[in-house]
Symmetry: C2
Subunit: 519 residues, 2 copies
């Protein structure tokens, strides 16, 4: 398999033979020294080169450029700021942090004599924040927030998480020894996929549309993306026949499909799956012996009165698969979403269920090679799952803050959904949960031709046009995957209610202009 250095280093005549190993080699120039540089687009990891990550991709880079041009007054635009709706980053667009967790966090970081033991501490901090900070310090074993923790996170925090999961799932046990605290859910997803992808025959079933951390990580690890389509006409529901088709077709091609990604509530699609649908998926995974990766980071973000979050673990329990040890399941959660919205903290966790002990040990080894996740993120995860209790001095204000954030998200989901559906040429499924709308947009034939002529996807052209005319930064739907011939974009509904109303109106106006421009 290995080419000798002489074969590999010279000659373009050998390119066809050695392309996979040597990359493109300029005639006569030794590979690795093109233009004098060792590291070039041709010599780096080609999986990295080929990887796409639309959430901070080209449209966002253009938005950042425009934002700077506005700030530095080097160019004029018909708007005075960029509205970033490209990413679920609530506090970047005005969501206030919950007060109590920040107070506990601050006290946990302060040395005792400047914090919990300072004579004026109670003047600045509520009693229950002080008490909780003492508990956190104890949970960190006296080392404080400045030491590496256990590579899975401190056991006291993991016990709180296990208790939260147990209560959420109506008493189904959770094992703190199988919880890993991570730098956000992205980190946990990366770890799992690293273990799962043995070679380029390995396939991971992912929804279409999906959140691009999956496609990006699978590309980087040289695995195979095995897409299954969500049913847009049916509120982005799952379709068992489609799952079977996708799996069978991949197997036909020689792909060894070993796992299945479920995102519920959906990103970018915002649907909340029914109990029955989740049970079908769990059974499908058990039947085909697929590891189920349950992306449940939006479990608190359910706005639809007729929907309820139902976890994959509860489904495994209710179908008897958990007791029979017939399911291998990993569930991801994060402090970045929900009501907490603490993206900058990079906190998250995953729970392993039914995973072989030896495989757990390998994941532990992988976690230990980056020592531990950030302690402030760990603390925030602990505070998220274990907040103030009734009777605590901060309980009522904390609940009120949570309710205000949730109610506002709920109203904004409606503003976006209704607003888009009122635009001629737009169709937007119900925003039952998560933080996103993913409308389908009918584009004029001439726009498709113009996009083809300039070599970009029609919805990327549309998103750039929207950005340049309105300052609204959305992500082209093609970054998430969609049916052939469908176009659209993903937007969050995180900006303030006033701003969201303006966003919807600006999108409408832009669409009318766009359609008339290309008709």
């Amino acid at each position: 398999m290995m080419l000798g250095p002489k074969l590999c280093k010279y000659s373009s005549a050998l390119v066809l033979l050695g392309a996979g190993l040597c990359g493109l080699v300029n005639a006569g120039v030794p590979s690795g020294v093109t233009g004098g540089k060792r590291l070039t687009l041709d010599t780096i990891n080609q999986q990295l080169r080929g990887m796409e990550y639309a959430v901070r991709g080209k449209v966002v880079i253009a938005a950042d450029r425009i934002s700077n041009e506005i700030k530095e007054k080097v160019k004029e635009y018909p708007f005075d700021h960029i509205v970033y709706t490209n990413i679920g980053n609530p506090q970047s667009v005005g969501q206030r942090p919950l007060t109590w967790p920040r107070q506990v966090l601050a006290l946990s970081d302060l040395p005792e004599e400047c914090g919990v033991d300072h004579p004026d501490c109670e003047k600045m901090f509520p009693k229950d924040a002080i008490e909780r900070a003492r508990l956190i310090k104890k949970a960190l074993g006296g080392s404080g927030t400045g030491a590496y923790t256990h590579s899975q996170g401190p056991i006291a925090f993991r016990k709180d998480i296990a208790q939260f999961i147990k209560e959420r799932d109506g008493g189904v046990e959770s094992n703190p020894d199988r919880i890993f605290m991570t730098n956000g859910a992205s980190n946990a997803i990366g770890m799992l996929l690293t273990a799962l992808i043995k070679d380029s025959t390995c396939g991971i079933m992912i929804p279409i549309p999906q959140y691009p951390i999956y496609s990006a990580s699978i590309d980087l690890l040289a695995g195979k993306k095995v897409g299954y389509y969500l049913d847009e006409s049916n509120g982005w529901d799952m379709n068992l026949a489609e799952l079977e088709r996708s799996l069978a077709e991949a197997q036909e091609k020689g792909i060894v499909v070993n796992s299945f990604v479920l995102i519920n509530p959906g990103n970018p699609t915002g649907q909340v799956l029914s109990k029955e649908a989740v049970q079908e998926i769990v059974k499908f995974c058990a039947k085909h012996n697929l590891v189920l990766l349950a992306d449940e980071v939006y479990q608190q973000n359910v706005y639809d009165d007729d929907s309820e979050f139902y976890s994959c673990k509860k489904a495994a329990y209710d179908t008897g698969l958990l007791e029979e040890d017939k399911i291998e399941l990993v569930s991801f959660h994060s402090v970045s979403k929900g009501i907490t919205g603490e993206c900058g903290r990079r906190g998250g966790y995953m729970e392993l269920v039914g995973i072989d002990d030896d495989v757990y040990a390998e994941l532990y080894k992988l976690a230990s090679s980056s020592l531990c996740s950030g302690v402030p993120g760990q603390i925030m995860a602990d505070l998220m799952v274990n907040g103030p209790k009734p009777g605590d001095v901060s309980y009522e204000s904390h609940e009120a803050e949570k309710k205000a954030i949730f109610d506002s998200l709920k109203r904004k989901a409606k503003i976006a959904e209704d607003g888009f559906n009122a635009i001629d040429g737009f169709s937007c499924q119900k925003a039952q949960g998560a933080m996103y709308c993913f409308p389908k947009v009918t584009l004029p034939e001439k726009a498709l031709e113009a996009a083809a002529a300039s070599g970009v996807s029609p919805d990327a052209m549309y998103a750039i046009s929207l950005l340049e005319e309105t300052g609204i930064c959305v992500i082209p739907a093609s970054g998430f995957g969609q049916e052939e011939g469908r176009f659209g974009f993903r937007t969050t509904f995180l900006p303030s209610e006033d701003e969201m109303i303006k966003v919807v109106e600006a999108v409408r106006k832009h669409h009318e202009n766009f359609v008339s421009k290309y008709s």
Copy 2:
């Protein structure tokens, strides 16, 4: 390259043909369902399975077990606690955090009305911490610490880092646009190696002994470790002839060596390289067109009065290679080491020098796929490179705290070095810098035989014996690499001075017992 599913799923007769792709397959049992589980040691990524990470490896797992047994009083040991000297985790063994950065951090996390704007704020916090927290909030663009930042970190922080690097290097310019703030240096190293390792022909030169994040990451990414020996008899110095030998031998084997790892000050070896030595390395890398990965996380940890930290970037400047654009260099730094010792924060950064713009863009894409590093770690990095200034109210106390930590580290380096050298059968090079000693230990022939009989490396057997008899947790030298027939261990000198004196004495006693047991 891809085997069809039928070939891959069944039959042990095909194992030899398909071993690389299918792993070990039990006769008659479809691969992937061994023992009912999809994920087993045989079906996971074999690079992960083969990866070793000794810093939190078997000895440490045994230490954790013993620590729990002591706490839960289920077993008695001849000591009452474990002394963890396996890892550079200063605050876990009693180093106090610097006060001022923690005060700024706490205020940065607190919402204004509970923090910088609270009427009692000045009772608890010094003025310069309050002012700095306001600047940090401004640097975070009004989003506070709860939002994702730019994927490289906020530009204001990167400008502070660039200024710090410039001052360190006597005025050599640093470009904030080429700095990436990361979750500790481990994360930065992982990113770079991901880009560098295109396929299994790619080789990375690493020192022997080395810090195992390199071997672990290269194993995981399926690259080739190309070891070069440090010269123990010469205080772990570099030897240019050895570098040339190592490179030439690897190239003979068909390995495309594309990069070179330098750890200075050394880990686990503690040497501080001379100006001339660093210049030799920079020239060596330029001559052979190798990307230089400069692990400079211990740049503040130089205790030897005759030594001084001299950066690779300064060496590139002083040799003219920087101006000629003849060097591709990435330097890593961290808030976990130095005087700061804020491991739990997971803060660090890397500076790219001479890296192709397109390659930079690919690294940016990779960083963006995990959104950003943790904001508390970013803030700590900013505070590390830009502390209180003369005249600020906290300046003197901050400098005094730093000096106390540094002086203590310096004394402890001496306690360890002298103590080990006084043990018959030990030889320990000068601990000029970093946080470690890496003594060579002469083991009796019978101990080597006993180790061989039980299938462990002699120094792993030795480390376990030391742990079980004294409670001291060190890492076998074999976890870092060493010459054939050499044995020893790495220990930090981070516990308190009193404890370090006891550690050295306990190591001496244990060694005498060990030698007499096996003689």
